[in-house]
């Protein structure tokens, strides 16, 4: 672990819905080249935390800092600062092809801000297709391990949809990638694809926040693990320490051991 300034940090983040404290007073840090695992039972607030970081939801309180400067504003603005994410419930444009969905991240990156949006409109009319884009789609597909670029996104399995989401996020060339349950419903092939992307980003000195219920995988892949329970951080530390911690025992085995066993 470096002592350098963190890549991304959050402090005092809170969000409640009516009376439900989905996230309360959560702080975290993510260093360059680090994978931060985020685990916790259903409703622990993992997705909400991802939403607060990416700007998909407005936080009630809290501050975020990305590479030394405050991270604020709407989701689009934050994406422009280098955040990318996937969704627990995949958000693919089902009417579009796999290639177009994969390229959406890169396409969006080219159209950030009003000026580029207007320029892109004109460029789109003059030159709708760049051969380089097809090549990029193929590269992204290879990275995550998906084929059949001209299929409709609606014909994909859930596992394939997750892979396309990961590829789409990769295409935006993020410095922080937030993955919300990329392994849910994925087979060995899907796990391998996502793992590859995580390793590539880690190797490039970027940061990854990995949310999943598959504790084995998260603790294997992550450098550090944060355990959330009812909106709060119950434990934070190395994967080995987390697995051995009494909090882990309590959260996962304390109340209903038979549920976890099954």
């Amino acid at each position: 672990m470096t002592t350098a300034d963190p890549l991304l940090s959050g402090s005092g983040l809170s969000k409640s819905y009516g009376g439900v404290h989905a996230v309360s007073d959560v702080s975290f840090t993510l260093h360059a080249g680090e994978v931060l695992g985020l685990i916790g039972p259903n409703g622990a607030g993992k997705t909400t935390l991802v939403d607060l970081v990416t700007g998909a939801q407005d936080a009630d309180t809290g501050e975020l800092v990305l590479t030394g400067s405050p991270l604020r504003g709407g989701a689009a603005h934050r994406a422009a600062q280098g955040l990318a994410r996937t969704f627990q419930h995949p958000q693919l444009a089902l009417d579009l092809s796999v290639a177009d969905n994969l390229l959406l991240g890169a396409y969006a990156a080219r159209h950030r801000g009003l000026g580029r949006l207007l320029a892109g409109l004109v460029r789109g009319i003059l030159r709708p297709h760049a051969p380089a884009d097809r090549a990029l789609a193929e590269r992204l597909a290879t990275s995550v391990g998906i084929s059949g670029l001209d299929r409709h996104a609606r014909d994909l399995t859930l596992g394939e949809q997750r892979l396309v989401e990961v590829g789409r996020a990769l295409g935006a060339e993020p410095c922080v990638l937030l993955l919300d349950e990329p392994f849910a419903g994925a087979d060995a092939h899907g796990v391998a694809g996502t793992t590859r992307v995580i390793e590539v980003l880690r190797g490039a000195g970027h940061g990854v926040i990995l949310v999943d219920h598959n504790v084995d995988l998260v603790t294997t892949l992550a450098d550090r693990v944060m355990l959330m329970e009812r909106g709060r951080v119950a434990f934070e530390g190395s994967p080995a320490d987390c697995l051995a911690s009494p909090e882990m025992q309590r959260v996962y085995f304390g109340t209903a051991p038979e549920e976890v066993a099954s």
């Binding site: 819905y17 009516g18 009376g19 439900v20």
Partner: protein, 300 residues
């Protein structure tokens, strides 16, 4: 001083207040029809104005061209309106909504229905405005300097009766409570095996009935032509949205506020300002309080 005196002249003019009452009742009834569709089917039926128009227009045509008695023409108008509403649900709205494509295609579908009803009426009954032929009117009388027209008492009575009946039907009967539950959360209701289709159909029929009674009665004052349909739709929609969807009484408030605007804005500022004012009011309401004055209670 002039402004003040003119202001008083308007506000103390009983004739204007009678117009407010009459307009308010009509708008409220249209809003109530919207409310039924919204609770039963979770859906704004933009066909309401066309249904009200078709009932009134057909009734007038039957009376003036075919010598039918007004009550009989009224019955035909009301039954026809219910039939249109039911056909709309079965043939258009349900199949389109069942595909779950979201609001856009449903919106286009009701738009096309509205347009179809207008065109059908125009094609078979003519495009010219007709005088209304309400099935019930009272002898006009005077209160002080103000004249109470022949349709004021009927529309007030009908409004009071329909709102009370609607309240009782939705709150006190099993089917009514079921209907509200379905409107609240159609997906959950489907999972629970509630009779969604019956409730939807009933809500469309009730909306048709209410719209028809409103249209037929109000046409006695304003006359009616196919061109009224769209405007009546928008007015009913506004009455509901401004009043709020939280209680069955809300359209009454929305209708009253709209009627105040409809009567007094033209009086003070001229008729054109009303059109501009409505855009602004609608925009403000939709943007800042889309749930209306009486918001539905949020259950967490």
């Amino acid at each position: 001083m002039v402004g003040l005196r003119a202001g008083l002249r308007g506000m103390t003019n009983p004739q204007l207040w009678i117009a407010v009452v009459e307009n308010g009742c009509f708008f409220a009834l249209l809003g109530l029809a919207f409310y039924f569709n919204l609770t039963g089917a979770g859906f704004f039926n933009f066909g309401i104005g066309a249904i009200a128009m078709a009932a009134a227009f057909t009734g007038s045509w039957l009376v003036t061209e075919h010598g039918l008695s007004r009550p009989l023409a009224g019955v035909v108008g009301v039954l026809g309106a219910i039939a249109i509403a039911v056909v709309m649900e079965l043939a258009v709205v349900r199949p389109v909504q069942a595909r779950g494509e979201g609001e856009l295609s449903a919106l286009v579908a009701v738009g096309a229905s509205l347009f179809t009803i207008i065109q059908l009426s125009g094609l078979f009954l003519g495009h010219e405005a007709r005088s209304g032929q309400p099935f019930w009117s009272t002898a006009p009388f005077s209160v002080g300097s103000a004249r109470v027209g022949s349709t004021v008492v009927p529309i007030v009575v009908i409004t009071a009766a329909l709102f009370t009946l609607s309240y009782l039907a939705l709150q006190r009967t099993r089917l009514g409570r079921l209907t509200r539950a379905i409107g609240n959360d159609t997906d959950a209701a489907r999972v629970l095996g509630l009779p969604i289709n019956t409730a939807r159909l009933l809500s469309f029929a009730a909306a048709g009935l209410i719209a028809a009674l409103a249209g037929i009665t109000f046409a006695g004052r304003s006359g009616v032509s196919p061109d009224n349909a769209l405007h009546w739709t928008i007015t009913g929609f506004l009455a509901l949205v401004i009043g709020g969807t939280g209680t069955v009484w809300a359209p009454l408030l929305g209708g009253a506020l709209l009627a105040l605007a409809n009567v007094f804005i033209p009086f003070y500022f001229g008729g054109d300002v009303l059109a501009y004012g409505l855009v602004v009011v609608a925009m403000l309401f939709f943007a800042f309080r889309p749930e209306g004055v009486f918001a539905p209670r949020v259950r967490v």
